[in-house]
């Protein structure tokens, strides 16, 4: 399928929160806890992404949101806070297209890298990002805002032996 990607607008928020819950169901199937089971990215998170110009929505042929990428800033560069695709549309390249938009935007901003946190083992998580040039950051390479974001994820409930930070050098 093809998807058109545009910047997110305020009216997208309920649909994006629904998408996040829908995408998180796959975590449940694999027996992995996801924060979307408890709560999704807040309207404040989405507003900050829109204001910063780093929040994008993928639309299906009918113009319905079928995926989104939401970034924030960490240590001055783009950090992929959320990448979600509707379960019915997964495997169709929408996540890859959204990730490409985020990477392109980071390059456009002259960011030295783009970062994210993700599950180490799930195939659509760390292995997916590794195919797109992301590498895991551990130990002394994990500092600043990124370390804080990872700690926040642990506090939310992600398992420290599964949840990792990754970066792609641009």
């Amino acid at each position: 399928m093809t998807a058109r990607i545009r910047p997110a607008v305020e009216g997208d928020v309920p649909a994006l929160q629904h998408l996040e819950r829908d995408a998180a169901e796959l975590f449940r199937e694999w027996g992995i806890w996801s924060p979307a089971h408890a709560g999704v990215r807040s309207a404040r998170d989405h507003a900050a992404g829109r204001t910063g110009g780093h929040s994008w929505v993928a639309l299906d042929e009918a113009g319905i949101p079928c995926g989104f990428a939401l970034c924030c800033l960490a240590d001055g560069h783009l950090h992929l806070l959320e990448l979600a695709v509707a379960r019915s549309r997964q495997g169709g390249g929408i996540g890859t297209a959204l990730l490409a938009v985020a990477i392109d935007h980071a390059r456009w901003r002259f960011d030295p890298c783009i970062t994210l946190t993700t599950d180490r083992l799930l195939p659509w998580n760390a292995p997916f990002y590794a195919r797109h040039g992301f590498v895991a950051l551990e130990g002394a390479r994990l500092t600043g805002d990124l370390a804080t974001l990872l700690d926040d994820d642990f506090a939310t409930g992600f398992e420290p032996d599964r949840w990792i930070a990754m970066a792609k050098v641009l």
């Binding site: 910047p7 910063g52 110009g53 780093h54 390059r107 456009w108 901003r109 002259f110 960011d111």
Partner: protein, 101 residues
Amino acid sequence: MAKGYWVARVDVHNTDAYKDYVAANGAAFAKFGGRFVVRGGQFQNPVGSSRSRNVVIEFPSYQAALDCWGSAEYQAARAKQQGGAEMDLVIIEGYDGPQPG
């Protein structure tokens, strides 16, 4: 109606300031219907001079392109560059008449 365009060539010296500009200018472009036709991208400069980054933004009309430049929104975004970039900008009316061939 012929569209309007910004044709810009930019050298960025202060990437931190430029990030603030990038984050802020989208609101101005959106307000005046601007859309990127060229945003970076590979290029060659077979003759004359060039800058490191090239941008073409299309507006619904020449007037909209002019209005965007003069808007408080864009000028506020531009101020965030804090002199961190050198830009050559042409605001130009498009052509919608007959084409060769």
